[in-house]
Amino acid sequence: MHAVITVIGKDAVGILAKVSAICAEKNANVIEVTQNVMHDMFAMIMLVDISTLSVDFSELSRLLTALGDQLGLSIHVMHEDIFDSMHRI
């Protein structure tokens, strides 16, 4: 079971570290990361394994959204299935 974490917003020091710290704390294994900085805008997409998550998926989502609010970034956590079903036949 995988989830996709997206982070979009103004670039700053330590975004990747803070997001991955929450993932590590809740036992979500980071599998893949793509990251771009264009004109000061930071965009990161992270694929994480959530099969051994130590909390509910909704709790992880809540924590990351709260981090996003705190840093002024837009952070979304969504189950991989949704992207698979919408974009793959």
């Binding site: 996709v4 997206t6 979009i8 893949e32 793509t34 965009a43 997409i45 694929l47 998926f57 909704s58 989502s61 837009s74 979304h76 956590v77 969504m78 189950h79 991989e80 299935d81 949704i82 992207f83 698979d84 079903s85 919408m86 974009h87 793959r88």
Partner: protein, 452 residues
Amino acid sequence: MINARDILETIQMIQDEHLDIRTITMGISLLDCIDSDINAACRKVYEKITRCARRLVSTGEQIEATYGIPIINKRISVTPIAMLCAAAKGDPVRFAETLEKAAQTCGVNFIGGYSALVQKGFSAGDEALIRSIPEALAVTDHVCSSVNVGSTKAGINMDAVALMGQIVKKTAERTADRDCIGSAKLVVFCNAPEDNPFMAGAFHGVGEADCSINVGVSGPGVVRAAIAKAPRDASLSEIADIIKKTAFKITRMGQLVGTKAGEMLGVPFGIVDLSLAPTPAIGDSVAHILEEIGLECCGTHGTTAALAMLNDAVKKGGVMASSRVGGLSGAFIPVSEDAGMIDAAVSGSLSLEKLEAMTAVCSVGLDMIAVPGDITPETISAIIADEAAIGMVNSKTTAVRLIPAIGKQVGDMLNFGGLLGEGPVMPINTRSCETMIHRGGQIPAPLQSLKN
């Protein structure tokens, strides 16, 4: 890994373009609750609904959290209550009160099925139920009612049409102090689908499974945004293609949610209703799609053609995305629930006659239209008859949900709030149609009903 562009596109659809699951509707059969004692029947109805749907709302919320997709409504549809009234003698409103109580216990937004199917005639229970509709919708908040008065196979029951004119008017009068909201919960159908998840017309047909999950998707904003990205000189074939691709993605999401909800609730997944259902929110309007295609204002010449193309492309895109398609499936054009339709009606660009033409090429009918409060029951019946005739001849579903705005005149506004929105009172043709409506009888089924 999934393509980054696809991921960002999905997030943009949900964040900025109002993509959502409009409703998860659990259909529940009440055939095993029929009892000659109305007290026993009501007890069984309450027990069955609360047993089947007790986890519906929490499951919906869990899916919302996991997939990050908003699910706006959780609803229940039940077997047409007229069938229970046929056995249980007594006041049908007792069933409406029971449905209301069950809806409140389960925490759902609406419960549909205070219905009767009378396209070919009234059977025991039908007329009593229909006559009780004004009272039932006045004393409940969550109960929705529908009556099927015609079909391609049976023709149009004009006695029922005449009766429904009176019922629609009385329902508005009974709730005149609440902007006539009762009539917003009452639909008169021709060719009613038995697996429709959308209110107010949802009921659980007798051919359906004991319990099933039907899903209605939304997404006018997503379609409009996709068309807006196309160049201004893109041909209509290209626009149709864009709509198809977008409808495919929207429907896949509905299919996923329906399948997951069915699995989690231990209930078979019924259908995805491929509909573009607008809301009064800015950017979630079907009228704005038509305008994006290239009309200055919805209702002008060309509207019917644009809507026909939109409706067809939505179905073509959606049908491949889902294993089971049903319900109403097409574009909805409710006036009060669509910001663009409201503006078009207020500005005078959109008339009742144009809306009637539009209903010939899209999925529903004259929906959520406020008419002057002094409209006669006969005129309401005649509007229902016209709409039913379009449905009967074209082998499609049509419906009428008119709101006689008691005490108000053309140009005044009715405000229902929430998803039901607000709408201007629209002018009608006031010439009499009484003699025709008073004739009663049956409009015979058209030749196209003889397909065997």
